[in-house]
Structure formats: structure tokens, C-alpha cells
Subunit: 417 residues, 2 copies
């Protein structure tokens, strides 16, 4: 079966590690920051060297296209080049570089495709500099309003609109991904979890992306002097929040074994060792592929007592996202190719969000996962073995060839019952 | 019995509320900041107008002295004029203004004292701009090294040494409070807790200051993706910390009913809703008048398991302070005068630290508490009724007169068994 070049893929990964490198094995490459622009420039330079046609849209998403032999809708594959602060070198970048390597393989071996093939770089997937995450795919899918995201400012007060203008990558709105002109979207990505690594498997056949709900829970007590306030007179918001976290943890753990939930952020006021905390807020993020399970999470939150340890409890939905199921025929190609290549694989859901889930709202899409060593992600220790990167790119290559040769005019987007 | 002027005391309190006023009922008057220097200038102006001799020492502590009729050691009374950020108008300031009002009463009524009487303003009691708290009294008592505190920098990088130099209040080291030349130190202060207010009492006869221990407890897990990490594979530092806080709370609550303990500060890394927390540290502050009870707190901390919820637990002592017992004969004068004036009062310990506790390390000392409305302190809602301020000042006046007339050459510093 056709395969990409392991050496060329290694060279690409090593080169792109240098843009925003932290010196401790990771990268800090916030969206449209100077190192992110360097990575974009290198990507475009390589695409043009391969003879691809490079355009950008109004959100600075990049489209690098190799023409097809027939007048057919395009096949799109890609991911993102931005990272979190002190993140890893494979998150997003691998999907872009594998896509580029697939095209380089086809060009190098003189293999044409019937459909045009577009390598895509999405702008601001991480949403660290400009929240929310998956900003540009979200705008294209109609999840976020363009005016709203343009107004978002980073920590230095720079708006997303200004950053786009200054980037040199802002193009025309008419260049946006046009679902009517696209056959499929495919994205290779690291798993960002430990499932494949722990099982010793190489490929995750991604059935869909878990839905999520995210709440902010706020506990209001009374700030007071840590030495002068008897225990019985306290309304200690941090003690109350700690009890609430333990209680919710126990309750949610009993709902479903594949539910994941996280209390990731906690803010305490005034947060001084000598003051009884007056107000604490914390986040609760819960994810599952079944919206009925998520509904039970919301019920648990709404059933919280109005008061705990004499502190008032309130909750507010920060956001929610419906589960996404990928296009079943595309998922089947991924599974078939992983099997045919002899790569141990499993069906799985993505707990993380990806541009592919918003792409799936627009056109039939699928994802391929490769293992994250020790399941680590969004940290400098994040890594994936070169061999696994190469195998993932081979699954991507063969899936693209299958889609290209399928003769299908329109894949099913709806999950099979 | 002699009494101070309620109207003059009100005028003083109202005037000093203006220095650093926030517009929401409180003050922000960080040590040696422009509003703190305005308050000092007004204090010195008023002292000089009363004919007092004003000197300052190398730490900018202010001493305003009215001479006595005999060659005897001085009686010292005072407190501090600095505040926390958005603090109250009575914390510290009341003790300075009541002392000033006592002298103004004696001057106004032509009542001489045998002993010189010194009104003192301690520099940087709060320790908010330059930690630690009670910095200057601590240096005089030998608790902190002078070089070390001079090097402490505020959030803008200004050192305490520079702030002292720029203040215009830095005097000679030889002007420092000299214990051999002092008979007693007395300090009126707001309670900063709810005990007197809730009991409807007017005066707290302060037996001493609780000892304290302060630990930082750190829980180390593994930061990871909130969506991609199955529950069973997590090492969630915030969940572990929440369980630890609940467990310690239960254990410490059983030790002694007058023990107070606070988890006041919590820091979570990376503190993002979409990341499983990798490291959480929190503070534990515990206070009690009996060092044996504090020892049991330390034992509980040292008995923590090395691991909880797969996260490593470590603890580090941040600081500790031995309990202080005030001079019993001075405490008895306070109690006797509160009784004689018909003010409902109770014996109590201070859970908050005060300059008086370091003064007690140098010379026989005592404190008088007045109620904090609703027990609030270190916040803009902090307040004390004028009537209670006035009554506290009357106890101070009569206690000073008792000390002055006692004929005692040296009070006992050790607690009676």
C-alpha cells in the first residue's frame, strides 16, 4: 500500500518544532503571534515549492490546493499550527504536516487525484490568546458571529481583528471553505489522552466528538479575619467549595463510566492566608458522547443545595456543545485502512474539541488519532513517536486515495442508526 | 471617673478617614504610601500643636511625648496608621487617635502625669505593601533582621529602605523605643472579630495573643486534557486538594473548640477549565493561645498521607508564632477600669497579631479591644460605633492614670500561674 516518507515527515516535524520553541521540549505559539507567523510562512513556502495554490480567507485560514484531474469537489485535510502556552509540538501541527507530506508524496511520485486536494491551516484553534477555541471553524460553521470574535482582545488589549490585519494572512471572505465545493474533510490529530498509548495501539478511529457542558459554580460567604473569627461564626467560601467539589465528584462519578468531568479552574477571593475566603468560583467541565448523560450532569448541578456551610451557591452555564458524530462512510475508510496496514486500532470518541467537529457541521468529516505518549497533552512533555506519526499519515494518505477513488458524489453525514 | 471628649474623638476619626478614602466607606492606606504620609503629617501637626516632642527612629516609627513631672520611665501607648487594601477606618487608626485624645484630654484639663507619656505610631503593621506584618515592632523586638526587612520590595519594586528614605520620617536608631526607659505599653484596638458585638459587650480585656502556625500544603498531580483523559487515569490535584481540605477540616475541628484554622489561599496550576489541574497549593493558618493545641495541629499536618487520589502531598511550614500573654498587672488595670466605668466586658485572647505582642517581648504590655460591628475587619464594611470608641478610650485613659499613679517601678511580665 502507498506510504509517505518517514524521513521527510521527521524533517518537517523537527523544523516546525523550532517555531516558538521554549527550550524545554515544547512550544509557545499562540495564534497569530510572531512564532505562529513564522510557522505559517514556512508552511506557505513549502506549499508553493510543491506547486500548490495558496489562498487565505478573511479569518486567515490557509488553503493550499493541488489541482485534480477532473472538475470535482475538493478533498480537504489539515489542522492547526497554533499552540497553548508551553504546549507540545504535535498538537495540531502533526495534522498539518502529515497533510503536507501526503501531498508531497503524491507530487513526488507523480500520482494525480481526480479531486483537488486542499491542505488547510485553521486559525486560532486553541483559543488561548483569543477565546473561544476553534474560533475560525466555528465562525465558518455559524457557531460564532464574526463581529463578536473580531472584537475579542488578548491580554495585551490587541483585538483579533487587529491581529488578523497585522498578520499579513487576511484574505477575502469568498475564499472561505465552501461546503458545496467539498467532498470531505479529514484531520489527523494526536489523541491527547492515554487510551491508545496504554493499550499499545497505533490508530484511533474517531467516531465523533463528545458533547460537553461547562458551568461556573460560585460560592459566596463572608471574608473575615482568620485569627479573630470563631469557627462557628464563619461563612468560609473555600471550605464550602471544597465540600461541593467532593460531593459533585462522587455524584457524577456514578452517572456513567465513560463520562469525564473536571474542576479545572478555581478562583478564591481575597486569596490571602490570613483571611477567611469570602467568595470562590470554580469551573465544571463534563463531556460525553451521549446527550442524555450530559443532561443528567446538568440535573445534578441544578439540584445543588442553595446553601452549603452557610455560603450561598449559584451556578451559571458557561457554554455547552452538542456531541458530534463523524460521517460513517469516512470513518469506515479510516478503520479499513488502519486494518489493511496492520496497525492495531480502536474505535473511540474524542473528548477534546477539534476543528473537524465544526467541519462536520458543514460537510462529511472524519478524524484519525495517533497515540500521545503517556497520554500527556497541552504540556511540554506532550509527544508522539515518529513511527506512530508516520503510520497515522499513511492512514490519512490511503483514506484520501479511497475517497478520491470512491466515485461517491456525496457522503452521508448522518450516523447510521 | 475621668473621660475623654466624645466630640473631639469623633472629629479625629472623621478627619483620618479622609486619608486614603476609597469612596465606599473604607480606606486604602498602605504603609508609607502618599495617603499614609498625609495621615502621619496630620498626626505630627496635631501632636506639635499640643506641645508634644516628636521624634522618629530608623524605621520611621513616630514617638510623640508629653513630659512627666518626675524622672521616671515613660508610659507608651499607640497603634498604627497603615491599612490593608480597601480596609476599614478603625483598624490601628483608632488606637493612635484614642492615645492622642487621651493626651489632649490631660493637656486640656491641665492634668500632669508623673511619667512621661508617649503616643506611638508603628510603621507597617499590616505588612501588605512590605511583608511581613508587624514589621517594625518585630525588628525592635529582635524577631526580624533589619537588613532583611530593608530589602523587602513592594509590587512596584520599591524597597522598604527606599520607601523609608523617601518618606521624610526616617530618624536615628538611637530614638527607638528603649525598654529600659519604659514602664508599660498599652494599645487600644478593634477586636476584628464578632465576639464582643454578638455578646453586646463593650470592652475586651485582652489576656494575650494566640500563637499560630502557618503551613503551605502542595498537592502534585499531572496536568492533562479535560476531555481526553479517562477518569481512572487522572492525577487531579484540585480534587485531591479538595478532599484534603475536607479531611483536615474535620480533623482539626475536633481538636479544641477555641482553635481557629483557615484555608485562606489556594493556587491552582494551570487553572484552566479545560485542563485537569496539575498542581495545587493551599495555606493552612491555625491559631490558639495554648502551644500544646498548636502542636497537635502540626502533628495532624505531619500525619497527612504522602499521597491522596494519586497525587503527592507535601507540606512546608511558612511561619509560626508562639502565643503571647500580656502583663497580668496591666491586664488587671484594664479589667478594673472597664468594670468601674460600668462597661460590659470579657476576658479574651486576640486571634489577630498586633504590635503589642512584640512590645510585650520588650516590656510589660496590654491591650484593650472594642467591638467590630458584625465582626467584620480588613474590609470596607469594617466599623465600630463612636460610643464604643469613646468608651475604649476612657478605659485607656484610666488605665494610664492607674499605671502612672501605681508607684510600681517594674510590672511583672510573666503570666500568673
Amino acid at each position: 500500500m502507498p506510504a509517505v516518507s518517514r524521513e521527510r515527515l521527521k524533517e518537517k516535524i523537527d523544523r516546525f518544532k523550532t517555531f516558538g520553541r521554549t527550550g524545554r521540549g515544547g512550544i509557545s505559539r499562540l495564534s497569530l503571534s510572531p512564532p505562529a507567523l513564522e510557522a505559517r510562512a514556512e508552511f506557505c513556502r513549502r506549499c508553493r515549492a510543491l506547486g500548490l495554490d495558496v489562498t487565505t480567507d478573511d479569518l486567515a485560514n490557509i488553503y493550499a490546493t493541488r489541482g485534480g484531474t477532473e472538475a470535482l469537489p475538493r478533498i480537504v485535510t489539515g489542522s492547526h499550527l497554533d499552540s497553548v502556552v508551553r504546549g507540545g509540538c504535535h498538537d495540531g501541527t502533526l495534522g498539518v504536516l502529515a497533510a503536507l507530506e501526503v501531498v508531497e508524496t503524491l507530487v513526488g511520485e507523480g500520482v494525480p487525484t481526480r479531486h483537488p486536494l486542499t491542505v488547510m491551516v485553521w486559525t486560532n484553534e486553541e483559543g488561548v490568546r483569543f477565546p473561544p477555541a476553534m474560533m475560525s471553524s466555528g465562525v465558518l460553521a455559524g457557531k460564532f458571529g464574526k463581529e463578536a470574535v473580531l472584537a475579542v482582545r488578548d491580554a495585551d488589549g490587541v483585538s483579533f481583528a487587529e491581529a488578523l490585519r497585522l498578520s499579513g494572512y487576511q484574505g477575502e471572505e469568498r475564499n472561505r471553505l465552501n461546503p458545496r465545493d467539498c467532498l470531505a474533510y479529514l484531520e489527523l490529530h494526536i489523541e491527547q489522552g492515554p487510551v491508545l498509548h496504554d493499550a499499545g495501539e497505533t490508530v484511533g478511529v474517531v467516531l465523533g466528538v463528545a458533547g460537553m457542558c461547562n458551568y461556573t459554580i460560585t460560592v459566596s460567604g463572608q471574608a473575615n479575619h482568620a485569627g479573630a473569627t470563631p469557627m462557628g461564626k464563619r461563612r468560609d467560601a473555600l471550605f464550602a467549595a471544597s465540600r461541593l467539589i467532593c460531593r459533585l465528584h462522587e455524584e457524577l462519578a456514578g452517572l456513567d463510566e465513560s463520562l469525564v468531568f473536571t474542576f479545572g479552574r478555581i478562583d478564591c477571593f481575597p486569596n490571602l492566608h490570613t483571611i477567611v475566603p469570602g467568595e470562590v468560583s470554580f469551573s465544571l467541565d463534563a463531556r460525553h458522547q451521549d446527550r442524555l448523560v450530559l443532561r443528567r450532569v446538568v440535573e445534578a448541578i441544578k439540584s445543588l443545595p442553595p446553601e452549603i456551610e452557610s455560603c450561598a451557591v449559584r451556578h451559571e452555564e458557561a457554554w455547552a456543545r452538542e456531541p458530534t458524530a463523524f460521517a460513517p462512510e469516512l470513518v469506515e475508510y479510516v478503520r479499513k485502512n488502519a486494518d489493511a496496514l496492520g496497525y492495531p486500532n480502536r474505535d473511540m470518541y474524542s473528548g477534546a474539541g477539534h476543528d473537524a467537529q465544526y467541519a462536520q457541521d458543514m460537510l462529511p468529516s472524519a478524524m484519525i488519532f495517533v497515540p500521545s505518549i503517556n497520554g500527556l497533552s497541552h504540556c511540554e512533555e506532550e509527544s508522539t513517536n515518529l513511527d506512530d506519526c508516520w503510520k497515522g499519515a499513511n492512514v490519512l494518505l490511503n483514506t484520501i486515495l479511497d475517497v478520491d477513488g470512491s466515485g461517491v458524489e456525496r457522503f452521508t453525514s448522518e450516523p447510521v442508526a
